[in-house]
Symmetry: D2
Subunit: 426 residues, 4 copies
């Protein structure tokens, strides 16, 4: 059976076939000669399966979509504070002000404009290997296949790279470029000339959605905190001038490239990638933007989508006899986030259990946020102090060991022991 | 038992006691004379319970925190396109450029700066009641208690309101103010002088977190789409100049007021409100910002927090005999979002059921996103076409009625019928 | 005989008849209904005679051409330092940034934009009479006839004066408006509604050309220093955005008004005024600009026109016998400015007189700049020290009394005495 | 006898000895190590004599003071329209916006900022010799001595010239640089490294004051129109940000260099140059600015100085008998500018001569502006038409040959003939 998800992606392509406005980038022959009718879309959830439709195996250059990953690598190399000292995180505003150095600090406004991205490239640690080689290695780890530079394209870009050279010399002059201008630009241009497919890009985006962990190899490529920071910057600075427009209409962190690609990330859920070479006046893929809008709408990707009202984590409350004692059993389920733990605690405070023995059955609980972990521990402590005997069934040890003020702690039972105890009563 | 959540909020206040920098707003005596040591914090999940600590019942003026709600009301009144024609959604950039009209369109840059907020106030429908009365009614609906204007404060603000009058006359001169300048400013100033507590504000924020539905009264105050749009604008424009800085460090849509309040919203989860009158150089509550940073960190509120890797919706797969036929039963659970439905479909494609009869038990499913609804229907259709007999147990009718290409449809059973069928085999 | 200067002005009008682009200001009916074909030109040298052609007696409103004169009056009232503290002298640059307050100082950028002109109006001393009455009195002194406000026009301007009210309230809010906003704007609008003709304007401009002294009444209306300062500001800020363009192409301090008038000043020479209601996209009279360009070119008005190479002040050197002594007589003429006095001193240093007696005949000298006065005194002192007997014929006492280091001074003779002494030898 | 002008310059140095604020430029050792106490001043009138005081023979680099001359040379090479298409003439406003390309046209704002000056350097015709060699030749022509590059300085500047390289690459990228970036910057840096003294600079400035003609060699280096245009640009853009401040306080076209020099020009009068290495926060010589202010004040250099009220050109009117006919003789003198010719024509119109024969004795007239030439011809024609017999004594043929409507023309007599005719009557 063909996956209906593939059918859905086919439909996205079919439904956007009328978008033929714009034109491919034409500043170098390699881009100008691209077949403008090529089109592809791919999605990859945090489970790691890639679904793709259209010209999904066509190679094109990653261009500016390389910037987020280089930024994350530089943060991993040097720490976020060091990078923030050198490159800002604010939208650049006016498009024409192409240098976009902050008038007060002299920093490039953000790492998604060229000035900032060149500065970032030069901040990638190159003591053991050239920065561009480390980036290609990173891209390969992200995509699970060897990523290479399109050398013909890189040569053409370099030959017409006066703008980038200009930015690099100005950055160097103001002490904002860690390495020499010419080699920084060469490395940066090669970084941008890496050849990828929408499949590759969807996997790269999915790794960001997955908190920096490649979903198939489980390799931790970026820390959770770096990833979170990067996604924030993509949300406000990724699509150039019209930050507010993108955030209201599509509503996910994204980045486009001049070859026609766009990647987008819904944290915790999915990475998406689209490709169509014709660019609109902002330099974004015209059809790509429309595809992203449809994906956002259909898939409920918008960051501000309020989502499902959180249900209580409390699946059921049962009165039983355990080891001869009347016992209240709270069966918990799902994720323990702020809203669900709040509901549980609310119930305990409002309707304290009428039995001395209380069991929390957490065997159906998926994950526990730190705040829930702490709140659960505090709740249990208070209940022990109040005279309750507390038993937790917590096979994955989501709740930490703890003791009350007099050294008493909760009892930890296995599911089997609880079941046996109940059966012995039955 | 006192709720541990209250203990946590107490701790937030205790841990930020050292933040005594800044000074209360001093442009009118009413604000300058505020006790600068007052402090309060409140949170309210989408379940509607408010937890508050500190001076949680102290009244102070809502000020600019009224702007998001007036903006949402104007959108409800006139439709989003009409409002977008008149007020932009882009961060204003330079702070000193206080008028912040877009040089190309003449629109105020966004509804969170004063020029935009005055324009928005004048766009609230006043045919049946003055705009400010409608806003007070809205605030009362949001907070479940009658909200009133602090008339002494409003009078003082008006007496020193030359800046707002200036903005209003300039807006009117450029055709961007729908009503006359003097009465628009008067209404706007009264809107900003509404007296609220952090409890009120947490409920107001929670309504935004809850997609526009007041969580306790279930009154739908704003559409889901309006709420989503508003939260996007708060994310990029709510905390003045440093959009990128706020988004990276705190990471939630927010809005501050000059009396010292700040509200924040995590869509689908929670609304938070803090209060401390001393302002930093950006005009935001200095201690309030620190409290927000801690809340964001502790409660995992950051929008870009990748969250828990989505688990499969597939709780278990059982082989049984139903009505004499070998049957595969898929027990689903939780929310059906893109990532969970993808996992299920993936399983079906990779390991097609070996029996002719297939049951999908959706009695434990919470909510189904549109994409999942459609994908489920397509999957079922394909399976019927492939010769399977499909039975769904879907008590909440989360999946729509549908037929395959030859008019065949899935069978809908109740949980009881499935249970009985299984028992009859047992 | 009709003056050829009038013929020349007729020709200016004839030669610009093809310039029919643009349209009269249309924001109020009074301006929109102006006959767009009216045209006039007038010039007035520092001798005070006005030459005019075209609709030279048609009345129109002075509008922004009142700004320079109000600025000069405010400087006379309060001193230049006080005014500079409140209003800057820099071109405003971007046109759209309509408020144009300096981001660092909060001052309006210059007194020729509306914000600055309103601030200036409110700085005119009004202790004995309203500012607008004092300005009308000034205009009357400048034009030698009673100047009155077009009250119908003023009423219309006030009714649509939201922009000016907006600017005034913002100025007041930032402490930059000395009086209350509403009455400042009313006074300012009436100032701008004064009715004038090109004849009036040419006389007003000629007074500026003449160092602040009305050339016919000899009334000193502004100090030389105030006038010089004002003309500098008109040169850089008078014609709105394109300061450099105006300065290179026309090259004289100027100011335009929205009713279609333009005045220009060549210091020391002439004031000019043109009128034609159709405005170009900068808000300047389209045909007026072309007339100004022609006047500048034909009349050699450009400030940077190198002018005639200065001739020596030394008309002739004669060897005579005076009172029995061989004597060298230097006959000086014209103005003694830096370049001419330099030529004289150069001659004396290079070719010291061979006689002991030296006469400087200054009876043909027109005016002596301070530098020349001092240099002449020093030169004479040195010559006395060197043993010469120095006689000056200086009927207008252009050179001050002075003594050499031993108390000896030059002798002062009348022209008659010198003539008699020479004749007695003849 | 030592010239009192030299004494005056000594006094300027003595009176500014207290100005020791600021510091020499320190971005390269060559400038940082300059003796900060060196000081010099020089002036040169349009007669060509240089007066200098202080370290007047010390060599220092011309730096940005080379920009005006390169700009004038490029205009001579290509025509002003071509240059205006490529480089603007507007003040750049904000200092930090260092690239200062016009957002609409992409042109550098003006030729006095680095971006514009590099573009200008690359516009100097280099078909017969490198641009920098042509500039050195021009500097040598201006100063009457061979001017050379300080090669050590140039090498240092190039080694730290990242800013200029950055600007050049950006200019090239936007099609605003006529030659390749690296060689353009090298040539530009060498242009700026030319070694000069204040004497040289005073001569260079005096050539601009003299309409482009070197006053001693009479070599026409720039056209009058080019010079006028250049001086306009220096007036508005020469002293960086504070155009209005400089124009009001000093009031002459000027240009500073980072080595501590400043040149200034009063058209038609004088060029001045000062030198002191300590720079203020704007990058201008701190003491140099004070010296310029004093020179402007003392020497009456301010462009807006209203100057001496123009006297009539009419020296005397005599009634005589010439060739037996009663004759009116008008003896004219001085320069015939607008204001003086106006006075003469005014007299002729108001008091037409009562005799049939009229003589205009122009033997004392210095120079005649085009407007006066034309007006004189028209006046004479009208008088012939009116029946007068017109005789002009015009030894320098300042007034053109012309004929009245019936082909009659004025008679041209020599001074001797008139004298003889008068004597024959006497």
């Amino acid at each position: 059976m063909r996956s209906p998800i593939l059918d859905y992606l086919d439909a996205i392509i079919a439904q956007t076939a009328h978008v033929v406005s714009g034109a491919p980038a034409d500043y170098i022959p390699e881009l100008a000669s691209a077949d403008p009718d090529r089109v592809a879309v791919a999605i990859c959830t945090v489970n790691g399966t890639v679904y793709a439709s259209g010209d999904a195996d066509d190679l094109f250059s990653i261009q500016s979509m390389s910037k987020p990953f280089a930024y994350a690598l530089a943060i991993e190399d040097r720490g976020i504070d060091d990078i923030l000292d050198r490159v800002g995180v604010e939208p650049s505003g006016e498009a024409f002000n192409e240098l976009s150095l902050d008038p007060e600090t002299g920093r490039p406004r953000n790492p998604m404009i060229n000035a900032g991205a060149i500065a970032v490239h030069a901040l990638v640690d190159d003591r053991e290997a050239p920065a561009v080689d480390r980036l290609l290695g990173l891209f390969s780890d992200l995509t699970q296949r060897p990523i290479e530079v399109d050398e013909g394209l890189a040569a053409s870009e370099l030959a017409t790279g006066d703008r980038n050279l200009g930015l690099a010399y100005l950055l160097h002059a103001s002490g904002r470029l860690a390495r020499d201008p010419a080699s920084s630009v060469e490395g940066y241009v090669r970084q941008c000339s890496a050849s990828v497919t929408v499949r590759d890009l969807a996997l790269m985006a999915a790794t960001l959605a997955n908190g920096g962990v490649q979903p198939n190899t489980d390799k931790k490529l970026f820390s959770r905190r770096t990833t979170r920071h990067l996604l924030s910057v993509m949300a406000s600075c990724g699509m150039y001038d019209a930050a507010g427009d993108w955030l209201t209409s599509v509503g996910i962190p994204a980045k486009s490239g001049v070859a026609g690609g766009i990647i987008g990330v819904l944290p915790g859920q999915v990475g998406v990638a689209v490709f169509s070479p014709r660019l609109d006046q902002h330099g974004n893929s015209a059809r790509g933007v429309v595809m992203m809008e449809k994906l956002s709408e259909d898939l409920g990707l918008h960051l501000m989508e309020p989502g499902r009202p959180s249900r209580s984590s409390l699946r059921e409350t049962r009165k039983e006899v355990v080891e001869g004692e009347p016992t209240t059993i709270y069966v918990l389920q799902g994720d323990m986030v702020l809203s669900s733990i709040e509901a549980l605690v609310h119930e305990l405070v409002e309707n304290p259990p009428a039995t001395d023995v209380v069991v929390f059955d957490m065997s159906r609980v998926d994950e526990v946020l730190p705040v829930a972990r702490r709140t659960a521990a505090e709740t249990a402590t208070k209940m022990i102090d109040g005279g309750y005997r507390i038993i937790v069934v917590d096979p994955e040890e989501t709740v930490p060991a703890f003791h009350d003020s007099r050294g008493r702690s909760v009892e930890r039972w296995t599911s089997e022991r609880l079941e046996a105890a109940l059966l012995s009563q039955g």
